[in-house]
């Protein structure tokens, strides 16, 4: 649901989406070592597969979005990974649109980067609790999705007054997803901290 289909947004919005995504991509790709490609690809594939999982929670059926999770595990490189995942999702499953890949990447990727920063700096605080990963994982996961939905709603709302109600509808529909992602990211961050700490991005 967080992907925007073609033809809905104002052209100016999705055109600038491409420009901004191209800039962030260029920057993050320059930070990426060629040796990282296999590792990032396999994790991207895992994010991709996991985000196909439909999940019945209460009355709603949702699927994971995992942008917060990508940020927490991949750091800056979450951005190109989300881009690749969205492109493949569009072309393999027709989720989302072609022209909107740029703006969709911003909607998912920028919150992912913020989740990463939150997690990274959060972990530096000495809170006197044992598993800080769970706390900051939960925060990062929840905030990343909340921001993605916020971006989406703003974009819809500014496209035209026709979309204002749609924006509100979309935002409300995502509230349970925010909760689920928060719990998910918290649990996985705690899990990784015990099983494979190097997978959590603290750089």
């Amino acid at each position: 649901m967080v992907h925007i289909s073609d033809g809905i947004l104002d052209p100016l919005l999705w055109e600038s989406g491409w420009v901004i995504t191209a800039i962030i991509l260029a920057y993050t790709l320059s930070k990426m070592k060629i040796e990282d490609v296999p590792k990032l690809s396999v994790i991207t594939a895992a994010v991709f597969v996991a985000s196909l999982i439909h999940f019945q929670f209460g009355p709603t059926s949702v699927h994971f979005i995992l942008n917060g999770f990508a940020g927490v595990t991949l750091g800056l490189l979450a951005y190109p990974c989300i881009f690749v995942a969205l492109v493949l999702q569009c072309f393999l499953f027709q989720h989302g649109g072609v022209t909107t890949i740029g703006i969709n990447t911003i909607n998912m990727g920028v919150p992912a980067l913020l989740a990463y920063l939150l997690f990274k700096y959060g972990m530096r605080f000495d809170l006197g609790i044992k598993q800080k990963e769970i706390l900051f994982g939960t925060l990062g996961g929840g905030i990343a999705v909340a921001l993605a939905v916020l971006f989406l709603s703003i974009e819809l709302a500014t496209t035209g007054e026709e979309f204002f109600e749609v924006a509100i509808f979309v935002a409300t529909a995502h509230i349970p997803i925010i909760a689920i992602e928060a719990i998910f990211t918290g649990i996985t961050a705690g899990f990784l901290a015990t099983v494979q700490p190097e997978l959590l991005c603290r750089r």
Partner: protein
């Protein structure tokens, strides 16, 4: 199990024979052009042209329609909501009011606008089939390299695509093992916790697999660049196809700017 977009890549059609590089660029141009239109008639013409392309590609319509269903479900709310909602009531007839939201009917214009959005979304997705579905995904990815996309990005596409299938299998096996130990997905916290842990484990395993894959690549002489034997060549027919499709995309824009086909002004 993930079903594949390139299931019908093995067919033979003019579209299949078209150089993938030119095919991707031309059809992509067409998609952008259609989405940029704000004119129901032109969008409809674009849609008809797309249907012709799908027909030429010999990809069964049943396959395309099956995939379009999902898009339709996603854009349908717009079709239903837009004609009936607005912020003020000055442009439409109020039908009902609840929780402070006003339901009103804004007439034929709004219906046309909603139809246009739905058509654009469907057209652009439909064009994906002749664009991507007519050659195997790996050839398509190689074509991206031929189009001078950054090497790192092309490699990420290639590896990600490859491992989606491996990891999907892996997750299916995990799900089966969950089920065979009495687990049933319900809408509760226990389910969420369990699924989360299973996914976390998928990541841990993927991470380690990535290490081994990288080791394997290195021991096969990988030093940062993936090169393959595949070569593309574009002949006269490829360029004729490209000019036809690209030309059509440009034509749509020219028509839109000239104001022809305009039914109702503003939109």
């Amino acid at each position: 199990m993930i079903s594949e977009i390139d299931r019908y890549a093995g067919l033979s059609s003019p579209i299949h024979r078209w150089d993938p590089r030119l095919r991707i660029v031309s059809i992509l141009a067409l998609i952008f052009s259609v989405v940029l239109l704000y004119n129901l008639t032109l969008v409809t013409i674009g849609m008809i042209f797309s249907i012709i392309l799908v027909y030429l590609s010999k990809i069964p319509f049943s396959f395309v329609l099956d995939r379009l269903k999902l898009v339709f479900v996603l854009v349908l709310p717009f079709f239903l909501i837009i004609p009936f909602t607005t912020m003020g009531t000055d442009t439409g007839v109020e039908i009902a009011r609840f929780y402070g939201i006003t339901l009103s009917y804004r007439g034929i214009e709004a219906v046309g606008f909603a139809a246009m959005i739905v058509l654009k979304a469907l057209t652009s997705v439909m064009l994906i089939f002749p664009m991507i579905g007519t050659s195997r995904m790996d050839i398509t990815i190689k074509a991206l390299e031929g189009l001078h996309l950054p090497n790192k990005l092309v490699q990420m596409f290639a590896f990600t695509y490859r491992y989606i299938f491996v990891l999907d299998d892996e997750f299916v096996r995990t799900e089966r093992s969950l089920a065979s130990r009495g687990f049933k997905r319900r809408g509760d916290l226990y389910t969420l916790t369990t699924v989360s842990k299973a996914i976390a484990m998928l990541f841990v395993k993927s991470y380690e697999r990535a290490d081994r894959v990288f080791y394997a690549m290195r021991s096969k002489g990988y030093s940062g660049k993936v090169v393959t034997l595949h070569e593309f060549d574009s002949g006269r027919q490829d360029w004729i196809n490209a000019i036809a499709v690209f030309g059509f995309a440009v034509l749509l824009q020219v028509a839109a700017m000239s104001g022809a086909f305009s039914i109702y002004g503003g939109i």
